[in-house]
Amino acid sequence: MRLPFQKRAATFHHGIHPAYHKETGSLPIRRLPFAPRLIVPLSQHIGKPAVCCVSVGQEVVRGEVIATADGFVSLPVHAPATGVVEAIGVMPAANGKMVDSITIRVYQADGQEVQVRSPRDVDALDRQQLLAAIQETGISGLGGATFPAHVKLNVPPESVIDTMIVNGAECEPFLTCDHRIMVERTQDLLRGIRYAMKASGAPRAVIGVEDNKPDAIAAIQAALPADGSITVKAMETKYPQGAEETLIYALLGREVPAGQRPAAIGVLMNNVMTLAYLGRLLPSGEGMVERVLTVAGPGVERPGNYIVPIGTPLRFLLDHVGARSSAREVILGGPMMGMTISSLDVPVTKGTSGVLAFGKLQLPAQAQRTYACIKCGECVKVCPKFLNPSQMGLLAAKREYALMAERYNLDRCFECGCCSYVCPSHIPLVQQFRVAKAVNREKATA
């Protein structure tokens, strides 16, 4: 038991220590073969969907632009494999909606080299050219936020960024793809950090890594530039260490004012995966055709980190890693914040950081008996935002959604799931808060 006055590693207040299951962190990244068909949604990012620029029956080459960005807050889409466009139209996506997608039948005999590339001297570009080049790569926030990278790095003139935070915490259980990227693609990562610093005007960068990844910290430390502009800091292994506001607080001791972006306090945060792909794709002028993600969970026979072509259907992915028949739940992302999918025929997109298959034993609270709130206060003790989930849960049961927002800062909740994780009564607090937010949003627009 740690006493309250004891000094601790860089960290935030509250949070939880779930079982981490990071066994795949020691396995090297492997490549997944091409599925016979790839489904590439036109919108894999926040912003306007890309505009399709190919037609059915047209042959495409791996890396070729098949949909162009529609304005600044948008990203182009690249062909993830050489093949022929089989269909253009709506297909199911992970969120359960039908979205415009391009289906490509892959030429299995093809060598699948990325053939379209335009190598460039990144250091010679000015800021605007650099941002344009980043947009051309099609990189969005690869941690799962899917915000276009160039939009995030395009700091408005009124704010000055003094520190770029590089998020290598990877606090979600089971996920280890960021870990492997830091170990195996350290040079890409540091190059990407330099590009991002230049694009945003940040004079220094701090890489935050949880202390359960000593090999990643060592690999980065060995590759740091001599000028001291980039540093790496070990942090306590605690969930949600990698959430934006907790990470900024842990590394810099600064609080992001409620309701504002980190840029308001001179901070910009990017995920290690995003920056590593930036460092890899910018110099060669390639597009985002694949990504590294973790496939794990008790329902998988060969868990690990795989390079997966964008658009690979989950059914193909799970077949390849050997999904067990005991698997009952397939989660995109981590077990704390990820979402389950209703169909295996949805594709991997740029924002997919993990695919987890859970069996019956791992089934969460909702399957078990719920009790009345016993006001134990555990949720208050773990909430990283210092909210009062207990009180909000009681109000949600009475449908007092407006009161939750006005008096108890409902909108500051980022749904990390700590409260539901500890709740001894198995009250689905996070789900109640999502419903409350949705109802409030609906009322606001009506």
Partner: protein, 344 residues
């Protein structure tokens, strides 16, 4: 492969209501064991009867309200065991049963059951019998009677609605003339005699069934706190504030007021601080609220003991503080991360 749809988070700590409650009951077993060793059959029967009547009351109210059986959440068992430990060891068993039903029905079911009750049910039960049976609740029995494992103390087996037999003559028959029949708190209040700390620590005092050994209660409470089944801040606040206030009085008038150690170890303060004040449903959950709540209990206990008509004040101190718990939460919402200073 069948797929189930769920919402995040998809993991759980595994610590649910029955786990917490069961651990609290388990941690009370050493205290029960010590009580039985001291008082023999009477204490064992009292703990059993009170607990069973609490369980029965819970089951009956489940039935009436058409609810699922809630005995498996172990919360009624906690109420029963705790209530029994606060009663005098020779308390008539039928009165113990009344206390058990009063605790569950008046203290818990009436408010909607688990988690809904504003007052600690065990203390509601004790307050009920204190008002109903004022003589029996202040009739104490000697520990370590020679025949305690073979014979009941006569008052235990009193018939319902009959006056219990006089315990003083029985004590004489047993050859325990030194027994005064008054608790250390009463002796301090009315005779200005202070008991030694050693007696409190080892349970050589006249007291309720489960309140005799302060050190045993402390150890059991520390175990629960270390395993995070209770909030350590509450007992620290209760005992700390009581000690500070008692020390201030003792410092001002040492001949009139007892030592802080006496205040901490006597009566039900130890049991109250670790097991009653920490009842989750009836204590605050905000950080500042928790400290204020604990301090209120400590201060009220000392004030009632020193200036009230009663010799012991822990029960009313906790019940009064229970009443303030939700208000303390309302006015002490923590500042959120990124919120304005000095504003919730």
């Amino acid at each position: 492969m069948t797929i189930e749809l769920r919402t995040s988070p998809h993991q759980h700590s595994g610590r649910d209501v029955p786990v917490i409650m069961r651990n609290v009951v388990l941690s009370l077993l050493p205290i029960c064991g010590f009580s039985v060793w001291q008082y023999g059959l009477s204490a064992a029967a009292l703990i059993l009867v009170v607990t069973v009547s609490c369980l029965a009351a819970e089951r009956i109210s489940n039935q009436i309200r058409g609810m699922e059986n809630s005995l498996a959440d172990w919360s009624a068992a906690i109420t029963g065991v705790l209530l029994a430990l606060t009663l005098p060891p020779a308390f008539p068993l039928w009165m113990g049963a009344v206390a058990g039903f009063a605790a569950i029905w008046l203290g818990k079911s009436l408010f909607g059951g688990l988690g809904q009750n504003p007052f600690n049910p065990a203390l509601v039960g004790r307050a009920f019998v204190q008002a109903a049976f004022p003589t029996s609740i202040s009739t104490w029995a000697p520990a370590f009677g020679p025949g305690r494992f073979t014979d009941f103390i006569p008052s235990s087996l009193a018939m319902p609605f009959m006056s219990p037999p006089d315990i003083a003559s029985w004590v004489k028959q047993q050859g325990m003339d030194a027994f005064t029949g008054a608790t250390p708190l009463a002796r301090w209040k009315f005779e200005n005699v202070s008991a030694s700390s050693m007696d409190f620590l080892t349970g050589q005092v006249t007291a309720s069934a489960g309140e005799t050994s302060a050190i045993l209660i402390l150890l059991c409470g520390l175990y629960l706190a270390a395993r995070k089944f209770l909030d350590w801040r509450i007992p620290v606040a209760v005992l700390g504030s009581a000690m500070l206030l008692a020390w201030a009085f003792h410092f001002a008038q040492p001949e009139r007021y007892p030592t802080p150690t006496f205040v901490l170890l006597s009566g039900g303060l130890m049991l109250g601080a670790w097991y009653m004040a920490t009842d989750m449903a009836t204590s605050p959950i905000t950080p500042r609220g928790i400290w204020l709540y604990g301090a209120l209990i400590g201060i009220l206990t000392v004030v009632i003991r020193y200036f009230g008509g009663l010799t012991e004040g822990v029960m009313y101190a906790i019940l009064i503080a229970n009443a303030t718990a939700s208000l303390l939460d309302q006015f002490n919402q923590p500042r959120i991360l990124g919120g304005k200073r000095g504003k919730s």
